[in-house]
Amino acid sequence: MSLYKVKVFSRFERFWHWTQALLIITLLFSGFAIHGFYHPMSFEKLVWIHIIAALSLITLWIFAIFWHLTTGNWRHYLPTTKGLWKVARYYAWGIFRGEEHPYKKRFWHKHNPLQALSYLGLKMGLFPVLWITGLAYLSYGFWSQGPLTASSLQWVAVIHTLFAFFMAAFIIIHVYLLTTGHSFKEHVMPMITGYDEVDLTDAERSYLEQDEPGRIIE
């Protein structure tokens, strides 16, 4: 096994990532303004922005789910305990002693076990809760007929808000972890160019060289 520069993030994946990032930041900004933390513009404009951004994000995710399933990329997010402890130990201890990161990206495991687990949690937990409560909030007029309205909207709002705080915390950690390797740039560039260093097996290398020569650089 040896390291090669391989295209690990396809054009769609990069588009998805950055659009999603933009939309999530827009949603956090407008959402906390609607919540009343600050008043950058009229409530009407904020609600409009929040709804448009939310619907765009959900549309994007419909494509992303299709992409995950049809391209087999869902496999990158399979949780594993193998190497999980080593990675966790690295961030809690090894990183301070200048140790090398214990995980080398592999062709079908481009995320380290801790990363894969976090992203899985994000995609299967955090996002769905925000969407479901958000859609319930948005469509409140359709299900609120009757005496339930008064209290039930409060629970929808409480959960939606709480998970928005979790989302904000995720972004802080996500951005911070970009600084942990050799350089910030080294972490960001793959999501821009698509290429990253991957530990390829001989079989993978010969497959790429033969069938997808554009994806591999010496």
């Binding site: 009343g36 409530f43 008064a150 911070y176």
Partner: protein
């Protein structure tokens, strides 16, 4: 006495009285002061410095005045031409001569031979309303309000606005005599018809009856048309004793309003008469204040006549366009009345409304005579009375923000029979409804606050004998005890003999003076921590409400994360620097 000396003396005296009045008004307890409307433009300056002082009693003088006729639309689609099939000025029956109102009515009923049967069932005639939901017997004939308090027993005055002739005493009046119906007060289109109180009252009131031109009965009878704003307004704009006193959203500004005052009645807009919305057939009209429709869910089809005066009867359930924000606004219509957003303020167009009335100061006299002080100059430049010997002291407001309440259309009245706890303000009309009641919506109201006499022994409201040429009538004699004793005795009601003063609140639904679209409330007027709906509780409203614990926990999580990564990063930098050194 020379003129200057008189003026200075009068000036000094008129300064003292309001000052004394101010001392007498107690501070309202905090518990119920919080949702009392903000009273704007109240002039605290001594009354004598502004308006003049008048002697004599001239209540409801506007109803006895000639007024400009409006050419309002009385039938949809008849903006340009009158499509009526009859020209009343050509009718033999109306050639006269007539010498009185009932003679004209007799002529009307000759052709309109069902109109009389219809009209005597109407509230304008019976002054009665039985609420089937609450079982209460209501209407002008029995209720106590917190303005002049009671029409019962004072018909000799209040009958001025009865749509009949000669209602001097409701206990003896023949309510089955159709010839006493006053057709002209609603159907005159000359503007020359007027009504005076049926009886003359105390001699101090004589001024009200002076210098009135004779009514040309033939001319008025031949002019009849569907009622314009000037017909309805002659009484309804002056309820409570003067222009816009009672409702707040019904004033003389609506005779000839601009679009800013009322989009529907604006002369430069739709120019609607009252009956376009208050549709009626067979002399029964829609739009009851005793049993309002708080949530109109009837699905009307185009062209289907609806006997309701609701916004929905024309605008439907989904009045906003099908855009993203329009859908969101339509989402509100099940819980928020149209009026709440579309009438941001009332008492517009330069005419103030009365918001506070203190009966305790009634009866101050100048040289043994009653007087009036003009201490408030309203937007259109006209002075308003801030003190009247016959009524006490008043406060006015203009461009008033309504108060907001959940309301399902049911009102429980405190009638003259109902006992209450006088240590708390008494709600004249308690509004039913709440956030968990699907039939309730948030409605705007004018809140009227009054300090009025009550029976201290029985803890009930009282009827007062206000009007009459006798030694008990309040207006002229200025004695509460005699007026109350007389008023209660007239209706065989128990009176302990001792009166006190109680604070009363009444709520007036704000439904007129609909603003142009551009002036409708912006979302953040309510969706804000300190918004207009701050006082309403029991439901979650985005932008206004938040769960404190969720906010605290959330902020804690974000801050802890931030501190965590900063600490982690800081340690990394320190340790990598120390490694490099070694």
């Amino acid at each position: 006495m020379d003129r200057t000396a008189f003026a200075s003396q009068a000036g000094a005296r008129s300064w003292v009285i309001p000052f004394l009045l101010l001392l007498m008004v107690p501070a309202s307890p905090d518990s119920y002061a919080k949702d009392t409307p903000k009273i704007e433009n109240i002039i605290d300056e001594p009354a004598g410095n502004r308006g003049g002082i008048e002697l004599g009693i001239k209540e409801y003088e506007e109803t006895a005045k000639k007024r400009p006729v409006d050419k309002s639309v009385t039938k949809l689609g008849e903006k340009e031409e009158d499509k009526s099939t009859t020209d009343h000025s050509k009718l033999e029956e109306l050639k006269g001569p007539f010498s009185s109102g009932p003679e004209v009515t007799k002529a009307c009923l000759k052709c309109h031979n069902k109109a009389g049967h219809q009209f005597i069932k109407n509230k304008h005639w019976t002054w009665k309303y039985h609420n089937p939901k609450t079982g209460q017997d209501l209407g002008k004939s029995v209720l106590v309000n917190n303005f002049c308090t009671n029409a019962a027993g004072n018909e000799g005055m209040c009958g001025q606005c009865h749509a009949g002739f000669g209602l001097k005493d409701s206990r003896t009046y023949d309510f089955s005599n159709e010839e006493n119906i006053d057709c002209l007060v609603c159907h005159d289109s000359t503007g020359t018809y007027y009504k005076l109180p049926p009886t003359r009252g105390n001699k101090a009131c004589a001024v009200l009856f002076e210098g009135k031109p004779a009514i040309d009965w033939v001319k008025v009878a031949q002019s009849v048309k569907l009622p314009g704003r000037n017909n309805c307004g002659a009484c309804h704009f002056y309820g409570g004793g003067g222009d816009n006193v009672k409702h707040g959203d019904l004033s003389s500004a609506l005779f000839k309003p601009t679009r800013d005052i009322d989009v529907h009645m604006a002369e430069d807009g739709e120019n609607f008469s009252c009956i376009i919305c208050h549709v009626g057939e067979g002399h029964q009209w829609s739009g009851s204040r005793y049993a309002p429709i708080a949530k109109d869910t009837t699905k009307g089809k185009p062209g289907l006549p609806r006997q309701t005066a609701t916004c929905e009867s024309c605008h439907g359930q989904q009045p906003h366009p099908t855009t993203l924000m329009g859908i969101k606004l339509n989402d509100h219509t099940d819980r928020v009345a149209c009026e709440t957003c579309h009438i941001p303020e009332f008492a517009k167009g330069g005419v103030a409304t009365k918001v506070h009335w203190d009966w305790r100061t009634m009866g101050r006299l100048k040289n043994g005579e009653g007087f009036r002080e003009e201490g408030y100059i309203q937007g259109n430049g006209e002075p308003r009375h801030t003190y009247k010997s016959i009524k006490g002291s008043f406060k006015y407001a203009e461009h008033v923000k309504p108060i907001y309440r959940w309301f399902n259309g049911t009102e429980i009245y405190t009638t003259v029979h109902d006992k209450f706890d006088p240590s708390k303000p008494v709600e004249i009309n308690h509004l039913e409804g709440g956030p968990n009641d699907p039939d309730s919506r948030i409605w705007p109201f004018k809140k009227m606050v009054t300090i009025q006499p009550y029976d201290k022994g029985n803890n009930t409201l009282v009827y007062m004998h206000l009007w009459g040429d006798d030694k008990d009538a309040l207006w002229g004699n200025y004695k509460f005890d005699r007026a109350i004793a007389h008023g209660m005795k007239d209706f065989n009601l128990p009176y302990s003999g001792e009166y006190g003063f109680v604070e009363t609140w009444s709520y007036w639904p704000i439904v007129h003076m609909v603003a142009p679209k551009k002036d409708a409330l912006a979302c953040q007027e309510c969706h804000a921590r300190e918004g207009r709906l701050k006082a309403l509780s029991g439901f979650y409203m985005p932008g206004r409400d938040h769960n404190e614990w969720v906010d605290r926990l959330g902020i804690l999580i974000v801050l802890a994360t931030l501190l965590g990564v900063l600490g982690h990063g800081f340690l990394r930098i320190i340790l990598s620097a120390s490694r490099r050194k070694s």
